[in-house]
Symmetry: C3
Subunit: 358 residues, 3 copies
């Protein structure tokens, strides 16, 4: 690892600006974090996810896990949260995700830490800001990668007169090939998988490309809830926490962490996808509009592809577009129009692979 | 178990309606749940219960528990919560509870699952809805019953023209006989029970039938709090979570889960009943009026009976009417009038047996 | 221990009034409490503290801890919380703290209990209330002291005509000598201390007396958050919880527990003091003004002294004035004026010793 960036030119930090990033630079993020059953309980209190594998040690052990694994999205939030003080504290916008893959299961007691490589830089023509492309990796206490993803954010410059770096835009894949899925999924004994306890008899084979699934329920977000969530992830992006500043901002309000909305939608998706207990990959995601306290989030899924998983006959993958929609139920499947615009209320368009028993 | 009901005629579920239930049917509810110290901490943060046995491993071990047992009401909320998606998701009203008994202690690491038998059905004369009587049982990972209770709920019909089932109203006992109490209470070494640490020197013998105890303090409910609680219990009743729908409803607001109010009242009851660390049974309960965010809950107890516990001299039982009252302190013991109506502010009338050292 | 006070002259308790306290009296407080990883997760969700030692078992073990220790302020809140029902339930004001020292590390699984000695009493000339001086001690399940502190509170009399006690004002030290610090800090292997993971390369030697450090970020407080926190600590002071009463009070609102503000400020101080992972002592503290839901808390630190720790070359101490300020960022270091008054917005002035690697 060369050119390790220190975060403390002064003792306190206002975060990095566009000109602080250098192509190829690797950043070790602060504050490794041991994940515990306490985090699991809070995650349940925040989203009420009901996937049996993550909820029950007994269920997980019956099918071959040593203990209930940590919810994939909790792993994502923790790994991402560590990158925020260095990468996106001064971000104007989170522009996208790509090639997000879960690589190892995480269990209570594991300690997660994050590193990020700067894989692209491109100053905008306004010279006020630019896009930073990164690949972040979460590792456990044995140094094994558990999660890897690319993302790109628009970051302000500290000084408009700073020279622009050589532009470099990395090639980012639009979807994770099914052949690369499944690394975080141990071989499972599905003989012991109890479909009544799991909440549905529907398996991989029961879903078809083109299926649209309304997840029915809605969840209203409170300020205290999204703040508790985002602090749990040690994510320091100030737009989520500081009403004193946000009252002067564009929305006059704190903005809900986009990952909070993802987790609400994922938890709601249990109703209709009860056996899709594992998120194998995220191909891309777009926070179509911000969410605020008081919004009620609904969700629906569009099954856009199906695939076998390499070398295994126990589990299969579905590629979903998971839409979160605010203050509007999803019986009519509000999504993206042919012209690329979104229907009213859509706040999230997430393209992901989930795995479920065959 | 015959006639197991599946929850997925379609992939997603809108819950069961009155005509979906059949007498004698048994339902295996989804999502077994491992209870952990994380749940215990959240329960403390939600209610601040101060019973020493549940708060301290050291205290519990001194008197003979392997470790601090899980609070009885947390066990109840978890077992009940699992039944909601199948039983009461479309309930108009929770009409009552009966014969609720705790049967085994639950410890961190235990996994709870729930099943329900339909024990009665009676369509209402309006033909729009009917009463469903059920007995639900919570079991641990060894299949041992830890909690059993009857309840009855009014549920809408999907289709008013559906034929009415043969009416069957089960006999439900009005009170649990003292001879059936105590199964969840191991034999204890009360020599080691430290009354100073427990918070009071008052034992079973110090209470008399007719005692009225004001629990003094009040707790104001916030939206985020009751939502966190109810999600922690994986209870999906939408009236608690969905302001987008409830804004159009009768109250214009989300309704607080009745069990949340029970747990507030139970926690407040520490002040006056500090040694009544175990709820042995609930004879019946009535949510007299709904509670909402912003309400301040007070509580008081009326000692209506006393009993020895079968085969043991260490512990005795008090039968309490535990009243929760909103926005009114309980110095004047507001309860039920002679005509059966309730005094202003009463939201809960819970008839229960608690156990305390003799 | 002589003259143990019982809390239950009646079964319920309205707390102690000024005339209930006696010089030399020792009070055993109710409800020992096992601290768990569940509490740690809630603490993270409430404050988002990012000190690596408390966040990561792996980090803590590398430098010589058996496991990540419990955050010092969580220990303080739990030990203090137990004293509230007996000491400060009827307090009009928390007047001050002195000589607060952490004496042993606390780990998940430890059980904390508190005792208090009455070390001073002085009735006010108005005869309506008086000052009670106490020394409280928190002990673990082995009876080892983990925390000791003096505090003094103004408490109402039950009856103005009660005779005044002989006045006794104890001598309280204005600062903990550095020679008395470090008892809760095991000898550490700082070879293994990873400054990149800790979030800063700044060590003890990099700070100078006179340094002023803006901690940059702000945190907006929600009602649900401070209530969850204060209940987690089993602190029963009613001003924090009961809007029904407080609506009639001086502020018309619930008052945020002062310790909640301390923990927000302490967590914010990570930005600028990332290696100051241990609070060794609190010399004194003043809640300059109350905080309420909706306030945004910022913080800054003034380095007012430096000291070596007795008998060790691995760690050193900084004496800080940690100021919390509401609805005002701290770039201009708002603090105390020469005339002793405070600048606008200051809510907390905490004088403490923190320890960090040399």
């Amino acid at each position: 690892m060369n050119d390790v960036k220190t975060r403390d030119m002064t003792k306190e930090s206002a975060g990095n600006f566009f000109e602080d990033f250098k192509l190829g630079q690797e950043i070790v993020h602060a504050t490794p974090r041991t994940v515990t059953v306490g985090d699991v309980s809070l995650f349940t209190a925040l989203y009420s996810s009901r996937f049996a594998v993550q909820s029950s040690d007994a269920f997980a052990q019956a099918i071959g896990y040593p203990v209930a694994p940590i919810d994939d999205m909790l792993v994502f939030h923790l790994v991402l949260g560590k990158t925020v003080p260095d990468i996106s504290r001064n971000a104007i916008a989170n522009l996208g995700y790509a090639d997000l893959r879960f690589l190892k299961p995480v269990y209570p007691g594991d300690t997660l830490a994050s590193t990020t490589e700067i894989i692209g830089l491109k100053e905008n023509s306004n010279r006020k800001n630019g896009t930073v492309y990164v690949r972040s990796t979460g590792r456990n206490q044995r140094g094994e990668p558990v999660l890897s993803f690319a993302r790109w954010v628009m970051v302000n410059k500290r000084d408009e007169s700073s020279p622009a770096p050589e532009p470099h835009v990395p090639e980012l894949i639009a979807q994770v090939e099914a052949s690369r899925l499944g690394h975080a999924l141990p071989m499972l004994n599905l003989e012991a998988y109890d479909y009544a306890l799991a909440g549905s008899s529907k398996k991989w084979g029961d879903y078809q490309v083109g299926d649209k699934i309304d997840h029915v329920d809605g969840q209203t977000i409170e300020e205290a809830e999204h703040q508790l969530a985002t602090r749990l992830y040690q994510n320091t992006a100030r737009v989520h926490f500081n009403q004193h500043i946000e009252a002067q901002g564009r929305f006059k309000r704190r903005i809900v962490y986009g990952g909070h909305v993802i987790s609400i939608a994922r938890a709601l998706s249990f109703n209709g996808l009860a056996n899709a207990f594992h998120v194998a990959a995220i191909n891309g995601g777009r926070h179509v509009a911000p969410s605020f306290a008081g919004d009620t989030i609904y969700a629906w899924s569009d099954v856009i592809d199906k695939a076998e998983l390499p070398g295994r006959s126990d589990m299969g993958a579905l590629r979903l577009r998971l839409f979160a929609v605010k203050d509007r139920n999803c019986a009519d499947f509000p999504g993206r129009r042919a012209d690329g615009s979104y229907e009213d209320g859509v706040v999230l368009d997430l393209d992901c692979w989930v795995a479920l028993p065959r």
